[in-house]
Point group: C2
Chain length 356, copies 2
Amino acid sequence: MKAIAVEPGAGEPTLVERPQPEPGTGEALVRTLRVGVDGTDHEVIAGHHGELPPGEERLVLGHEAVGVVADPNGTDLEEGEIVVPTVRRPPAGGTNEYFERGEPDMAPEGEYVERGIVGEHGFMSEYFTSPAEYLVSIPEELAALGFLVEPISISEKAFEHAFASRSAFDWNPESALVLGNGSLGLLTLAMLEKVYEFDRTYCLGRRDRPDPTIDIIEALGATYVDSRETPVSEVPDAYEAVDFVYEATGYAKHAVETVDALAPNGVGALLGVPEPWEFEVDGGHLHREMVLHNKALVGTVNSHRGQFESAVDTLSQLPDWFTDDLVTGVYGLEEYDAAFETGDEVVKTAVEFASL
Amino acid sequence: MKAIAVEPGAGEPTLVERPQPEPGTGEALVRTLRVGVDGTDHEVIAGHHGELPPGEERLVLGHEAVGVVADPNGTDLEEGEIVVPTVRRPPAGGTNEYFERGEPDMAPEGEYVERGIVGEHGFMSEYFTSPAEYLVSIPEELAALGFLVEPISISEKAFEHAFASRSAFDWNPESALVLGNGSLGLLTLAMLEKVYEFDRTYCLGRRDRPDPTIDIIEALGATYVDSRETPVSEVPDAYEAVDFVYEATGYAKHAVETVDALAPNGVGALLGVPEPWEFEVDGGHLHREMVLHNKALVGTVNSHRGQFESAVDTLSQLPDWFTDDLVTGVYGLEEYDAAFETGDEVVKTAVEFASL
């Protein structure tokens, strides 16, 4: 079967031939439909993130997949069922408490591998196998967009953790600011507007009009904030202090400036993964502001099965026009390299391995 | 009646004569028993914090009080009942949503006054009045230590908010680090050891032995961490990464270093109120570490009635030897100035206005 793999640091993925996998006990065989491409894939391709499976020279990419069960292999799944796989798996040494309680997203480094990212092949191949417990069923009508379930689940987790941090008091958030107008930022903005029903939302980017992401932001009813004119810490003066900030830029100064963008009792969810970077901070101001106004910052990574299930429900509530505008390209295997191209006109892409 | 008041910046409090207050509708008259002294009082005395009541030249100090109801004045209280007053009151303009829902601790600046600190006289006088809703009853056997209820309530709130931030997953904290060996740090350490039953606790200070606070730390079963030998960020290497950090130093670098001291999935509660201070931070590392290990930072200030009620229960569970060692001096009005003296032998002091 064909697969899309990358040699670390090679700079671009290649199409390779691999044996079709055979499901072991408790595993199903899945025929891959579509696999999304995101920033993490680009970091793996560039060699900035990720790890090869032991003894392998290439990593099969892909962690945002949707497929159809080809062989249930004695599991509770049914042939023809549409499924989305979760990403983390137990490490070579075997399972651990995090997987046992269904919270692999809370496992620390070394206690997991990530399919398509760290130490295990991903889903960008015509078939893949997975233990049935890591396959989440989705309705057939969502099959074409099923590759959005994984990124949505990342934000479902971030919302759960951030909102939990405000559960010790009566918190009624009305305004939210998304930092970053990439595909995850735009998906999150749509969730906040259309599903979580925030009254006022903002999305920060650094693009000139005309721009497809600014069009999406405004069509959602949100306000575009140009970071070149309005730094994050000046959002309160230019617009308003917000109850919730969602950081999806990986720009380390944003984590610090988030505290200033927040209204009293607000929370910032941090999701970016920057490299080390030393800079000057008014740490006294930051600390004082967090304390005197009861502010919180919550770092969050990955997601678990329950958050994938929430994501399926969320995906079904996003308007068609939004997903149409968000997904700027779905490419067959013969033109898979187009799915990895970047540019201001590209928002979200996927590779199609098969159609229903 | 006699009261202890301060002229902002005068550097020391003075004994003044004031008219005995008369309770208004819904208010009770309370005869003051004891009022504790803490770091905030010293900041108000030094002129670094606090605000005079409108039109006044002096502020009556004191926000950690216990008293006995002298005149219930038609409220549900009874004469002779032992009560502890909460600290925040609605501002001159009238009440607001935070007070209406019993969460004045979540009110932003301008939406409250604080008795003995910001814009309203405190409790260091022979009598004070208060709306009955802000008076929390305590058992008579706790009367002598009732001035500890307010500081304990500050930590009850911090625990509630910090633990809420970890409620979206299965969190079983075992280890905690308290930054600061002042009276609030030691009270919090005792709560973590004796009431919240953490398995392993640490307390950071910068003192040489022999020292009464180190003796208390070790008698509690905790480990003393000398910050001159082991900076906060090196606690994981020297001891262990901890599940919970409680910051009570007001030293801004500690807020940043807390992220490094935390174990994966841990939370830091920030309570100090530093002045602005610019310094160099590895913001990229900080941000990345919070995200990849699901860490949280929660700022928290003040406390509400429910947390005072929890504090009464907590106080009843603290060992007698601990409160005996913690309270190094209770001084009558004729020697009130001794209660404001500081030094390595002083841990917690109070002024006694009357005894039962």
